[in-house]
């Protein structure tokens, strides 16, 4: 069962990572730097629980808020460029964070052992769950609960005018400005919300794995996070969730192929992108489903 608990926990954490890229992508931009916010959230919340003895939830919140704040700081200059240039700029940010962690030494003696991040050797003893007697099952429930709350917030925001405005900016920035929309704020805001989602995911990741290394926040994380969104689609928050589940099923389901696994894995991704070029959950599909419900509701109203 522990295998299942671990899978669900990791899936939940990766949904947050996917949402983070998704939020930025809604405004029409691709970020390869969300692993930087993931790392910031992880280190900040772990430092809070391990070095300062802060309880878990406030520590997670702190990691989220610090990530969002740095998101605003990075967003203002970075979002002046677009497309491939932004992809490179955000990736550069991710590398700055990773290299910063390589020279981050903040250690302290707690209960007779030296704890805290030790540069490239990483950050050990993030033992909050163990110290407080959490079982793997309870950790899973916590992650599922937090991710569910985040998804509910996303679902509500997407029905709001703010959600429509973010999509309008993604569709056409000039037209959005001529609709009276402050495009810069919407883009920076979306970047900050995306950074917050990644920061929260990082905080959960830190406490789940108990050991952080700067190596864990490299380009591979950026690529998988973007892949979740490309495969999942931008139609709704279900897109990144579908993307994460797609890769989960692929990774775990193809284990029996042994050596051939990664080859088939790549082939399936290529096929999926050809079959559904705008992702599993694209705008047309969302609109179709919405209209089904809408006409259904209207039909029912007319009958009574």
């Amino acid at each position: 069962m522990d295998y299942v608990y671990a899978l669900v926990t990791q899936t939940g954490i990766h949904v947050l990572l996917g949402l983070s890229v998704y939020t930025v992508a809604l405004t029409g931009q691709v970020s390869f730097g969300q692993q930087g916010f993931y790392a910031i959230g992880a280190y900040v919340s772990a430092i809070a629980t391990v070095l300062w003895g802060v309880p878990l939830l406030p520590a997670l919140l702190l990691g989220t808020v610090v990530s969002a704040f740095i998101g605003v700081m990075v967003g203002f200059p970075a979002l002046r460029v677009k497309g491939l240039y932004l992809a490179i700029a955000t990736f550069a940010f991710g590398e700055i964070v990773r290299n910063g962690l390589n020279i981050l030494y903040v250690t302290r003696e707690v209960n007779g052992i030296e704890v805290g991040p030790v540069g490239p050797e990483g950050f050990r003893h993030i033992s909050y769950f163990n110290d407080n007697g959490w079982t793997a099952f309870e950790v899973m429930i916590l992650v599922v609960a937090i991710v569910s709350v985040v998804l509910v917030i996303y679902a509500l925001l997407e029905r709001s005018r703010l959600g429509a405005t973010v999509r309008a900016v993604g569709a056409d920035e000039l037209a959005a400005a001529t609709a009276g929309i402050n495009v810069v704020w919407i883009k920076v805001g979306a970047f900050a919300i995306g950074a917050a989602a990644a920061g929260l995911g990082g905080g959960l990741y830190a406490h789940y794995t108990t050991f952080l290394s700067p190596l864990a926040f490299g380009l591979s994380v950026a690529i998988i996070a973007v892949a979740y969104v490309l495969v999942g689609g931008l139609g709704s928050w279900l897109g990144p969730v579908a993307g994460v589940l797609f890769f989960l099923v692929l990774t775990e389901g193809l284990r029996f192929l042994g050596e051939y696994r990664m080859m088939i894995y790549g082939a399936v991704v290529v096929i999926a992108m050809n079959v559904r070029p705008y992702g599993l959950v694209d705008a047309k599909m969302v609109h179709l489903v919405k209209n089904l419900f809408r006409t259904g509701a209207r039909g029912a109203r007319e009958e009574t």
């Binding site: 709001s160 005018r161 429509a164 959005a176 400005a177």
Partner: protein, 247 residues
């Protein structure tokens, strides 16, 4: 209402707009015409701060709007459409208007970001009905016909509750009956109190509806006056006859 004062715009060595001054009076339908490449669309882009001016100034209701960013120009009360239609393809018709709708002063800012209250709904539905798009409100804008998309662009502009509406070649690609509808729409908007700045190179449309016409050629003002005066002007005739063959 809208005053352009010695507006100059250079793109590199090319003078797209050169020393252009004119005024749009409140309540009027004014037209800006000229052959292709004469600087009409550039002028519109200068008014809405899509490009910065090289020199000169633009005033709207006695307020200097020269350096305001685009969204603030719009919020000051100027709406516009584009020559090549730019609706939000991935949003429904209703959402296209919703994102553009101006917040009423009594409406709370936070709440207006979340949901449309009864009054906001009523207002947007009225704009939709005026543009004959009410029945299409749940359709994705990307699935509209060309004529519908143009009407949606006008409706989106009207959702910002503008005092001045600028239409950039609204008749482009339309057939005769659609143009007749367009003329009706423009007249109705003007009668409801919206000032109109109309850009076109199709003289017929302009001559029918405009109170005043400014003619541009090579970025300069060639003539200004009533449609009849402008039509009789020999300079205008030569500018148009000279370019019509190319077109």
């Amino acid at each position: 209402m809208l005053v352009l004062d010695q507006v100059v715009k250079n793109f590199g060595g090319i003078q797209a707009v050169n020393d252009l001054s004119f005024e749009v009076k409140a309540g009027q339908i004014m037209a800006l015409i000229g052959p292709n490449g004469s600087g009409k669309s550039t002028t519109l882009n200068l008014i809405t701060s899509v490009y910065p001016l090289t020199s000169g100034a633009i005033y709207f209701e006695d307020r200097d709007i020269t350096r305001l960013p685009t969204y603030q120009v719009i919020r000051a009360g100027i709406a516009r459409t584009f020559q090549n239609i730019r609706v939000f393809d991935n949003l429904t018709v209703w959402d296209n208007l919703w994102v553009a709708s101006k917040r009423r002063p009594e409406e709370s800012r936070l709440k207006s970001w979340i949901t449309a209250d009864r009054a906001a709904r009523a207002w947007l539905n009225e704009v939709l009905k005026n543009s004959h798009l009410y029945d299409r409100r749940d359709v994705l804008a990307g699935n509209l016909s060309l004529g519908e998309a143009r009407r949606l662009e006008v409706a989106r502009g009207m959702a910002t509750d503008p005092k001045l509406l600028m239409l950039d070649e609204p008749a482009a690609g339309m057939h005769v009956t659609e143009i007749a509808e367009l003329v009706d729409t423009i007249r109705t908007l003007q009668q409801q109190g919206t000032t109109i700045l109309l850009i076109d190179h199709v003289l017929d449309l302009v001559m029918n509806v405009a109170h005043k016409v400014v003619v541009l050629n090579f970025g300069r003002k060639l003539a200004e006056g009533t449609p009849a005066e402008v039509q009789a002007d020999p300079k205008v005739r030569s500018a148009y006859l000279g370019t019509k063959e190319e077109a």
